[in-house]
């Protein structure tokens, strides 16, 4: 007994690609037995997404896939084979949660829509996390995290005014908003089931958590009539607030000077250049009013500094400052992430020792554990069929032979 919070909970995981797989990973790292259903007839496209170990493509070599699928077991089932359904149903009745992030209708075509599943497992918790939800005129529309960022305003609102919307440069909704909201909803449903014995259906539209995360911006429109625009790194009332150049190629420091106290400290740290003596730089309101000019002047000062040195000097004086870190900085040079043991190395049969994110929280008594690297395609097919579903070796061989377990 490890005593992890989700020990004893089993998840039938039809999720693939980004947001879904990360949701169930949260469960797996907290002790749930997450069984990832895959098929070589239709690969999780993340298995074919860079980066690969040594840059060499292979279905068991993607670092992106690996990071999203730790602590899970993997089974290959060709859901289009007529004999797959019985097998999956056997698995479902031994499980607590079934999760998918297909477009609506796919699970129904497999014969495991909510109605069918509830009929064989009445207390199942059934999570469907499609892009736009199970109902509605655009329920069949397709896309990825980037599309969700575009649809929900995040793309439009991020970047410089007058230029193409920059967004985050990533599929942001896949990485935090949707996995966290889906995991929270599942945990709430799990609590309800523990108390009442009742399962339920969770209709999760991946656009909606992202909209929920820009609530104040929506209210500014519905209440004040203001449809917000991109504003770079500007703060609504404080300045300087932005990203400033430092020595080195593409090296920057982020500064968020919220009050006059921090401004005075910053001026001292940068050696009180003459221009700072001007009276309009001495209070927040006029600094904010003239922030374009301020950014220009300040940028000439920061450009003389190494980003890390300046960050430390400013933080020592209580100024909110942080170097703009890239992946190398985070992994190789960040003492705080090192202190927290954020980067974890796991050994994978094909990739060897590679790097993974730890869950970003430390639980004092039941720490999350990355128990294993991501499963190889079909790695646990035999083990699950025999130990969990009670099939014999011969039966498994036959199912493999018939291309059911494929």
């Amino acid at each position: 007994m490890r005593g992890l919070p989700l020990e004893g909970i089993r998840v039938v995981d039809f999720c693939w690609i980004g947001a879904g797989s990360f949701t169930t990973k949260i469960f797996a790292d907290m002790g749930a037995d997450v069984i990832k259903i895959e098929s070589s007839t239709r690969l999780d496209s993340l298995r074919r997404a860079a980066p690969y170990k040594d840059g060499k493509p292979g279905i068991n070599r993607s670092g992106y896939f690996a990071d999203r699928n730790t602590s899970k077991r993997g089974v290959t089932v060709n859901m289009k084979h007529p004999r797959a359904l019985d097998l999956i149903k056997k698995l479902i009745i031994r499980s607590d949660i079934i999760a998918n992030n297909f477009t609506p209708g796919v699970m129904e075509r497999f014969g495991i829509g909510y109605a069918e599943v509830r009929a064989i497992k009445p207390d199942i918790i059934y999570l469907s996390m499609s892009m736009q939800g199970s109902e509605g005129p655009e329920r069949d529309y397709r896309g990825t995290g980037g599309s969700i960022g575009a649809l929900t305003g995040l793309q439009y609102l991020s970047g410089l005014p007058g230029r193409v919307p920059a967004g985050t440069g990533t599929n942001y909704p896949d990485h935090i908003p949707n996995p966290c909201h889906a995991a929270f909803a599942l945990l709430a449903a799990l609590r309800y089931r523990r108390r009442t014995g009742k399962g339920q259906y969770i209709d999760f539209a991946q656009t909606e958590p992202m909209v929920a995360l820009i609530g104040p911006t929506i209210l500014d429109f519905t209440v004040n009539g203001r449809s917000q625009e991109r504003n770079g790194n500007q703060h609504p009332y404080a300045a300087p607030h932005g990203v400033y150049p430092c020595t080195g190629l593409d090296c920057w420091i982020a500064l968020a000077v919220i009050n006059d106290l921090q401004w005075n400290a910053l001026v001292e740290v940068i050696g009180a250049p003459k221009w700072t003596a001007e009276v309009r730089w001495k209070n927040t309101a006029t600094r904010h009013r003239d922030s374009v000019e301020l950014d220009y002047l300040l940028g000439h000062e920061t450009a003389k500094w190494n980003a890390r040195t300046l960050m430390k000097a400013l933080q020592a004086r209580g100024v909110s400052a942080g170097m703009v870190q890239n992946a190398e900085d985070l992994i190789m040079h960040d003492p705080q992430l090192a202190h927290r043991g954020h980067w974890i190395k796991l050994t994978h049969p094909e990739m060897g020792e590679t790097i993974y994110n730890a869950p970003p929280y430390r639980c004092s008594r039941t720490p999350a554990e990355l128990r294993s690297s991501a499963p190889l395609l079909g790695e646990h097919t035999r083990e699950i069929c025999i130990d969990l579903l009670g099939l014999s070796e011969a039966e498994v061989d036959e199912l493999i032979d018939q291309e059911v377990l494929k």
């Binding site: 980037g146 609102l157 919307p165 966290c180 309800y192 909209v211 933080q315 909110s320 992430l337 927290r340």
Partner: protein, 420 residues
């Protein structure tokens, strides 16, 4: 406790998944959304503010752009469904009252600098002595210990040190941040997941624990494949060209705004064939230049030439069409294309309308209710539900203090001492 009359057109009251969980929320902007997630699912979340008001009350946007204790829309949004009391945790008398509250609670959410709770003698060990099943969640910029633990960090700094800031923006200028305090919100979201895990466990074991959440670590989860790209291939992923990350993938101008073309819409995909038919059907001049086999090679798509050719053909074609047309026609043809919506577009979005996503919540200073984002998930048995508007400053003082046996006389004394 729940009163649906506060919410206009709210769903009828159904069982709440988190009924019976009490959360003491003493958090600031980095943690208020965490408390909201619990409150909107039915927990009894008590927002405990200093007598001068919690920090979010002073953050824009404001109702009619006018600053005021009850006018922040950020506050109104992030504190729905909570009850609110005032209490000065900086003084001994306030700390004593807080200890009494802790004996009735399951979860404490706090966002103070490390060691503040210890100075108040309200750290995990102290709280666990009062109530062994308590879960204390500390959401801070960098976590409870370590070389950066005392650093100051606004949202922008969390994005910078967490690595997401570097990935956004334009090649020719400084990185630009994601909109809307997403570093704070990331910390709140992961904080909510970890807290819920611990609370569920505590309901079984009878023992709580301390959850230590770092905003920096939370942001680092959003780096997509950047960490692994460095680890496995030795390259540092940079901010992409937002216009065309590679040929056919990125944001393009259209007649009335912008559209987003997904990576799966080009190259070795069925959507690419469908796109070519579409362009041909609608008379794109020179479409045959896209027919060659090189358009299925990722190395070619990444080349300047491919970007240039695609742009030359697609951009004028897209410029003659609206984002709504391109979205619906593209999706009809099963091409992953999305409009780049602005806030005004969201309110008119037929899908969100169909799902009744936006909800109306009453506000004390306004006749019209506030229209705000609603359920982030639809649970069939225990629906998301706003129990009440965000509390006015001290709105539930009498009610909550009575529940822990603080009578009116004691409360008056606390008020005159400035503790409440």
């Amino acid at each position: 406790m729940a009163d649906s009359s506060f919410v206009v057109n709210g769903p009828t009251v159904r069982p709440a998944a988190l009924a019976g969980i009490r959360v003491l929320d003493i958090s600031g902007p980095i943690g208020n959304y965490c408390g909201k997630l619990f409150a909107d699912m039915g927990a009894d979340v008590i927002l405990i503010e200093p007598p001068t008001g919690t920090q979010l009350r002073f953050e824009p946007p404001f109702l009619d752009d006018t600053v005021g204790l009850e006018r922040s829309l950020s506050y109104a949004y992030h504190n729905t469904s909570k009850r609110g009391i005032t209490l000065d945790l900086g003084v001994g008398a306030g700390q004593d009252i807080f200890r009494r509250l802790v004996t009735t609670a399951d979860i404490v959410l706090e966002t103070e600098k490390p060691e503040v709770m210890q100075h108040r003698e309200l750290d995990y060990e102290a709280l666990a002595r009062l109530n062994p099943r308590i879960v204390l969640t500390s959401i801070t910029p960098f976590g409870q210990t370590g070389p950066y633990a005392e650093f100051e960090a606004e949202d922008l700094i969390g994005l910078a040190l967490g690595g997401l800031l570097y990935m956004g923006g334009y090649l020719d200028s400084a990185p630009t941040r994601v909109h809307g305090n997403q570093a704070y919100l990331g910390a709140s979201m992961f904080g909510a997941v970890a807290t819920m895990l611990a609370a569920l466990e505590a309901e079984c074991s009878g023992v709580g624990q301390h959850i230590d959440v770092s905003m920096q670590e939370c942001v680092s989860i959003a780096l997509e494949n950047a960490a692994q790209t460095y680890d496995l291939e030795g390259t540092v992923r940079k901010r992409p060209n937002p216009e065309q990350r590679y040929a056919g993938y990125g944001v393009f101008e259209c007649k009335d705004g912008y559209i987003y073309l997904g990576a799966r819409g080009i190259g070795r995909s069925k959507a690419w064939d469908r796109s070519l038919s579409w362009y041909a059907d609608e008379g794109m001049v020179g479409v045959e230049r896209l027919y060659g086999p090189e358009w299925s090679q990722i190395t070619y798509l990444k080349s300047e030439e491919a970007r240039h050719v695609f742009g030359e053909l697609f951009m004028p074609w897209a410029k003659a069409r609206t984002k709504a047309y391109l979205y619906h026609e593209g999706q009809r043809r099963k091409i992953p294309l999305a409009p780049v919506n602005c806030p005004a577009d969201l309110l008119a979005n037929p899908q969100l309308k169909f799902r009744e996503h936006f909800v109306s919540v009453k506000h004390v200073l306004r006749d019209q209710p506030l229209l705000m984002p609603g359920a982030p998930y639809k649970l069939s048995e225990t629906p998301w539900h706003i129990q009440r508007p965000a509390p006015k400053l001290g709105e539930h003082n009498i009610e909550v203090y009575r529940e822990i046996g603080v009578g009116l006389a004691e409360l008056s004394a606390l008020i005159s001492d400035g503790v409440v």
